[in-house]
Symmetry: C2
Subunit: 569 residues, 2 copies
């Protein structure tokens, strides 16, 4: 595998541009600009605005989410700058706005913005900010151009667009990994059904991050250094009429010591031996010759990695015997066939039958290990179907998953939001008749507290100036909105969750952006570390998210203060 | 609105590059390359391979689909060429392949490929090819490099990736238009919840194509010349503390004849008059001053297009009266406020109450037309909720729709497939135990037949060499797989559906790629022209798709010929 493109263009000091060149400061909702203008017009010289990016509910009926998309957000702000052409376009869209405003837009970048975030690949939970974005005052060359909170406001839509789907599909991948088990190979095959080309590329990236082993998507493999897998399609099989179409029949042995001049005859002989064998006798009759031709042709092209799609005609009466004939011929030449792929029918039953056949071949022809030939299954797989296969019993080694994985069919969107929590040092709360939608005010710190057994017990949010939780010290954790839900915790380990990824003008050091492989490892590790009852598919236990007693009191003081008192009429 | 970027770079002879720079020949599944290599290794010198791109089932429980994505496919093939870097990467992924194969890849383009397609924006139906892709032999500089079907095979994944989501979301938009009715304004607000940045940009484009009026997405507006809309968010409202934050209070009248030095006082006076008015008396008490400040500030910035989000605090007790105060003050200065947006709560009830309030204001203060002030609704809208609003009765003029629209939440993927139907002039059929999945073989022509009342009656597929249907001539249309389903039709108008969009080396002329606005008009026209029972939400009548008697016989001859005969054991 060549070095990942993404890594190659990463330099020590700088941060590369967003992976998708379409991610520019214009990739946002118009109202971000109209609001920016209204702020600017109002002459609101704000000291500091703090926004939290978070979600309210875990997807897919589960109790966890994996955070994805952070690196792209950092790439976005690191390169945030309007081009002249973009300014010109904005001017045409907002013709009533004063020229100075466009001068202001021309001048801004994100050098003064601070971004704190939970590391990508972490398990994350509702209401806890994934990112905290803060825009301090920037004094530009004229006093009119001095308020930067607009810049922070301008980040809302791009950040949401970069985080929402990334986190959703990473989570979906992780869920597929959990149900498939650690020993299975998981292959992402979704490009053709993904939501747009970039949907496909993002899907491949984040599925790998969430624990998949490889993708079929060549462009994603190139961009991110993800292993790429693929064999052939039904069309390849049906494009062959017969063995006489193959003109070059020679195959040199694996060690180069000899050449088989007529590999086709070798395959045909093996097919006859399989047909004549006592243990396999009667399980099949004539196999498809066009299929045999396709397999032979593919094996001649890829003797080291022969994997055949066996369901074009009939899996057990044609595909599997044909595969075995080619695989045994390859074995004669010192090559080990990889396996078969099943893309239709009763995958549990067929995988079991194919496995029996492989074992019978191993026994009959004394080919050690043939019984373990790999079986890949595909065809509209998802969490439910894999779970059903598990319950039924199957012999599948690898799953190729497409549509349901990449489109997140079971829930096509994660509802991340970007809410103002403080402005001018004044905490702000967003009220709603739906308690779920009430925001948690204040610039906050967030901690994950671990218990004796090493599991994370609870996430806790505190005010910025509160002392952090301490190992071994008893601490009251309160549900942010339900006064009766509270618990004392004595943490054995405390992890501060929000780390500095973009220090702005502050002197804080910036966290490195790890490679996709490191994030994947982190994600797998995180899932391992969670208490299993949070992770199970049916009725998982919610992971606890809490606030400090002090923050609890403040939230409710602010809430009562701001909420209108109803009048029953 | 500036000229669309997409149109600007369109030249007469050439076809511009794909909109998304990430759409390259590597945006495909690895197996397309491994198959290409196996074909090449087998020395299969094929005359001609024909593939059909079609879907098997209409999405969203409906009986129609709108075809989208054609222009991007044509852009893709027009610019299909591997770069040296891409070749180098492929070599690293397939190290076992011979050098000559990469020479071959280096040499290919799509100049010899023919693409026939149904025009973008047409209503389309299951099994009828949306596109027919044909790859003839290309003789390159060495005889080894002479088989092009691989190129056609290489188009499978990119074409599916460009058509699947495009058609799905166009159809979703069209369905939202049908349920909302023609008189409503439909605004696409989905960028932040879309599946990746390009998912968002594609969504905006194809929602407009499917009948939406505008988008919030600035980048899409710029790329495609789509009208852009937007106002402000809850965060804008809650970022204001009070009216004293507004420093510049002056507003010049619409005609420039006079300037109000203290627009804030004007607003405050109007608020008192509304509060004191007999007809509005008692409906509200104190309104939120931070909300009033936000509205006033926004009106000062955009006096010509003042639209206020009125649900941050309380719609009827704060938002609507505050809006009216600002709107009446604007009215004094010769400006007409646009309206309000409701983003939570009981949208039907609130829109009716707000309308009553507007009418009362019109009557009380004699402001002609104020009762018709526009009401926009947003907040997790979809087909079902709009249908429910319609049934309940509402006063909404415009719908802002996001998540459910752009992610196609109700069905997140359209299952377009790309199937081989002919090779070397030999028709190919893909068999399956599921009749739905059996492909219709042969290179085909497709016609839409119209009846006396102007409605399309049936689509019919025929063999390439069959004479086409004739106006006034009785014709037998047969269901492709159900022998008892057949009907005689006397078409009043016959439309050949597959038109030449990429003539390859043939002398056929190439259809122009129309502008997005033309496609949108075509789509709206098409939906109008369909018989209403095909389009209704509940239990729509399936539109008939048929084959000629001759093609029917041939399909079944081929099917019997190729299908294995089962053996019951």
């Amino acid at each position: 595998m060549a070095a990942a493109n993404g890594d190659a263009c990463r330099s020590v000091g700088g941060v590369p541009r967003p992976t998708n060149p379409m991610v520019t400061p214009l990739l946002t909702d118009l109202y971000q600009f109209t609001m920016a203008y209204a702020y600017w017009k109002a002459g609101k010289h704000l000291d500091r605005a703090v926004f939290d990016l978070y979600f309210r509910k875990n997807p897919f009926g589960g109790e966890f989410t994996i955070f994805g998309g952070l690196e792209e957000c950092i790439r976005f702000i690191a390169n945030f700058k309007f081009t002249e052409e973009e300014i010109k376009f904005l001017r045409s869209v907002m013709p009533a706005c004063e020229d100075d405003f466009f001068e202001y837009l021309r001048s801004i970048d994100c050098s003064d913005v601070e971004v704190y975030a939970i590391p990508e690949g972490y398990a994350v939970f509702p209401k806890v900010p994934l990112m905290r974005i803060e825009g301090p005052v920037a004094f530009s060359h004229t006093s009119r151009l001095c308020c930067l909170p607009q810049v922070v406001q301008l980040l809302e839509t791009p950040f949401l667009s970069l985080v929402n789907y990334a986190s959703l599909v990473t989570t979906n991948a992780a869920r597929h990994r959990l149900v498939a088990g650690k020993s299975k190979n998981l292959l992402e095959f979704g490009l053709r059904r993904a939501q747009g080309p970039d949907g496909g590329i993002s899907a491949s990236r984040y599925c790998y991050m969430g624990g998949f082993d490889a993708t079929s998507n060549v462009a994603a493999g190139r961009l991110f250094g993800i292993p790429i897998r693929g064999t052939h399609s039904h069309a390849f099989v049906s494009s062959f009429m017969g063995l006489d179409e193959i003109t070059d029949k020679t195959l040199t042995s694996s060690d180069g010591s000899n050449t088989c001049e007529d590999f086709i005859s070798l395959v045909q002989n093996w097919l006859i031996r399989i047909q004549d064998s006592s243990s396999l006798h009667g399980t099949f009759g004539e196999t498809s010759q066009s299929e045999l031709a396709a397999f032979t042709s593919y094996a001649l092209a890829f003797p080291n990695s022969f994997l055949a799609l066996v369901d074009t005609y009939d899996v057990m009466r044609s595909g599997v015997p044909n595969f075995c004939a080619v695989a045994l011929a390859l074995n004669d030449m010192g090559y080990k066939a990889v396996g078969i792929r099943l893309d239709s029918g009763d995958l549990a039953y067929l995988s079991v039958e194919a496995r029996k056949f492989f074992h019978a071949v191993e026994k009959e022809f004394v080919v050690v290990g043939f019984g373990k030939t790999s079986i890949t299954a595909s065809n509209d797989l998802n969490e439910e179907t894999i779970d059903a296969l598990n319950k039924q019993g199957h012999e599948v080694d690898a799953f190729g998953i497409g549509t349901y994985l990449v489109t997140c069919y079971a829930q096509a969107a994660l509802g991340c939001v970007f809410k103002l929590v403080e402005i001018n040092k004044q905490p702000r709360i967003k009220l709603s008749e739906d308690v779920m939608k009430v925001s948690i005010p204040c610039k906050k710190k967030c901690y994950r507290l671990y218990g004796k057994e090493g599991y994370p017990l609870v996430d806790i949010m505190t005010g910025e100036d509160e002392p952090g939780p301490k190992i071994g010290e008893r601490l009251l954790c309160r549900h942010p909105f339900n006064e009766s839900k509270r618990a004392y915790v004595v943490p054995q380990h405390v992890e501060e969750l929000l780390k500095c990824y973009w220090p702005g003008n502050s002197s804080n050091s910036r966290e490195e952006l790890p490679s996709i492989h490191e994030i994947r490892t982190r994600c797998i590790h995180h899932l391992d570390r969670m208490r299993p009852d949070h992770m199970r598919r049916l009725n998982p236990t919610p992971y606890k998210v809490s606030v400090s007693a002090k923050l609890y009191d403040f939230i409710h003081f602010l809430w009562l203060n701001e909420a209108p008192v109803g009048e029953l009429q």
